[in-house]
Amino acid sequence: MHNSQAVVAEQFDDRVQQHEAASLGMWIFLATEIMFFGGLFTGYTVYRNLYTTAFETGSHLLNARIGALNTAILIASSLTMALAVHSAQTGKRAKLIFFIISTMCLGAAFLLIKFFFEWTHDYAEGFVPGLHFTYAGPHASHVALFMCFYFIMTGVHALHMVAGEGVLTVLLIMAWRGRFNQERYNAIEMMGLYWHFVDIVWIFLFPLLYLLGARF
């Protein structure tokens, strides 16, 4: 299955064609991901416009400081991922391993903050519709709707990160075994595209969920 000799697979003319085929496939997958998250963003836009006050209240209940911290962590992990791709392109195995581990650690930090700090706190405060929702202020049912969007959107995003961590683990093992070099690094680069895409989703989630509530 895995031919460790041939750099260019049989069906391709050369490395450039192979690289572009891989990139195009990944970008088409990312296009389907844009449509997947796009449905959630569309629903959010509609209900935010219908129940603006409730959504601003809900947004205000979230901790923007943690949101900003997590944004910074995710951007840093995108940097280390880009550096991992660069290390693979220049054939530096030790650096590649170091940057893959850094990316995984930063991703894990994001997930740990989200699960054990943020969501635990949200649960204790009673913001979880269906499980523990005790908010009784004005527009309570529409604030619950906001919280549904919040948990589903950040939850699906977190799920993408967990999947990314899994693929990174596989790539780490492959890098450890010396499977990548200057001529063979497509897998690392495609993983980079995925990881940066997940970062971009968060770049939109952060202002929409955390920042658009009147704090002044």
């Binding site: 450039v16 296009a31 796009g38 836009t45 951007i75 660069h86 971009i200």
Partner: protein, 116 residues
């Protein structure tokens, strides 16, 4: 070399720019700009996403077919959002045809009493 290898300093420059924009969008959310809060937040998000796509995702150097795929996705997404919003927010502007009320009366007699 076939594929473009970007110089390292570009990555660090983009990283700093993304961090500055994150700080900016977070601090701006504490200032009352009225309707402009939403516009500014989304503009900054688009700027950040463009930086990530152009440099971290190598779109600046890759074949134009990758950009085509991205623009196609954004185009379909804009159709999804604009038509959905157009529907939801024009319902009170455009009256429902009378025939719809008649049909509703047959299938669900209680619904017509309240109308819409």
């Amino acid at each position: 070399m076939s594929e473009h290898i970007a110089p390292l300093k570009i990555y660090f420059f983009v990283f700093v720019a993304l961090m500055v924009l994150t700080l900016l969008t977070w601090r701006i959310s504490y200032i009352d700009l009225g309707q402009w809060n939403t516009v500014v937040a989304l503009l900054i998000a688009v700027c950040k996403a463009s930086l990530v796509a152009a440099f971290f995702m190598h779109l600046r150097w890759s074949a134009s077919v990758m950009r085509l795929v991205l623009f196609a996705a954004i185009f379909w997404l804009s159709i999804l959002i604009s038509l959905t919003i157009g529907d939801i927010f024009s319902r009170h502007v455009l009256p429902q045809p009378q025939s719809w009320h008649a049909a509703a009366a047959i299938t669900n007699p209680s619904a017509t009493a309240q109308g819409r």
